[in-house]
Symmetry: C2
Subunit: 211 residues, 2 copies
């Protein structure tokens, strides 16, 4: 498959393109090519989330699936994490790309859980992710999967997670990336919102137990 | 009617409660009562847009119609102008209040017009208003009207406006307030998004020409 990763230079994106490149042709979407992360099967494509929908759609020619793993880390939540994300959904529709996998955040669709689960400094971030996820689940005409891990840790992956989680927990970036890769191959994840943290269940098994 | 104005202490809200009080029982919703604006038929009700939906809904007991004219003036766009606004829609649904009149901003539902119409410093504001209006028109189960004027000016009102406008233009606050009042009485405005600026047509006539 030809897979576009939007936010290719981030902590998740840079590992994700390496993992995907073992099986797929990967387009690493970002404003700047990452000269430190040159991998076979990976080609840089210019994507600026401040561009308009039509311009973003031009980067999606011939693409079979899109990952959105970008984020402004609190610096531009309205224009990047919210509106930027939704413009990529609209661009995917225009470009005829059906499969869209969103990296979100645990409880992004459950505002009633925010106060007990997060410091108030994360409220703005949660709101931005909330309305991006809400658009994807209610407005966009895409074969979406939304992955919602809690806090990301730079730790070695274990290949084991839990899904349908009820507390934020923590996630090694490698486990999140391996779950994102497995979602692409697992069509039963289409139309699902997957809450996860590190755990004791093999990733493939955890995805098949979603119900 | 019993009418709740959310954002009663703002430039629009304070004039709006005075105008409404001539015909209606008015609840002036804000965090603090405005001791400088004491009017017959107006009672203060505590509303904090950072509260949860259930708490906000408690302020809506027995209310027949709601105006949302609040805004953070760029200081808290995610929590006030976007999420705060949407929580009041959800609270209205919970409280069984059907009629909901939103003060928005011209072209809030047309992102393709922003670049040519506004300085980039307004982009964050437009995004917040966009997703609030989008929620109201697609997700909320309310008898809404959205009024979208361009820039507001502290000028005398003329009682004359244009609707279905194609450029931002300017608006005297008094004209905007008189249009908001007229919308409440005019059931043909339900389900409509009204773009306006000052003009040459009497407000009632302009509202009846919306098509």
């Amino acid at each position: 498959m030809k897979v576009l990763v939007i936010g290719a230079n981030g902590r998740v994106g840079s590992l994700l393109i390496n993992r995907l490149a073992a099986q797929h042709q990967v387009l690493a979407g970002s404003r700047n090519p990452n000269s430190e992360n040159v991998v076979d099967n990976v080609e840089h494509v210019f994507i600026d989330l401040l561009s308009d929908v039509d311009t973003i759609a031009e980067s999606m020619n011939g693409v079979d699936a899109i990952y959105f793993v970008s984020g402004s880390r609190g610096k531009n939540l309205l224009q990047i994490d919210l509106h930027g994300a939704i413009k990529t959904m609209q661009a995917a529709e225009k470009a005829g790309v059906k499969r869209y996998i969103m990296l979100s955040s645990v409880f992004a669709l459950q505002p009633e859980r925010w106060k007990e689960s997060f410091p108030s400094s994360l409220t703005d971030y949660n709101i931005a992710k909330h309305y991006a996820d809400l658009y994807l689940t209610t407005q966009a005409q895409l074969d979406y999967t939304i992955l919602q891990p809690g806090a990301l840790k730079e730790e070695a992956g274990t290949g084991k997670i839990e899904t349908n989680v009820t507390s934020p927990g923590t996630n090694s970036i490698a486990n999140v990336v391996d779950t994102l890769v497995a979602i692409l191959e697992n069509h039963s994840t289409i139309g699902k919102v997957i809450l996860m943290h590190d755990g004791n269940t093999l990733i493939d098994k955890a995805l098949n137990q979603l119900g």
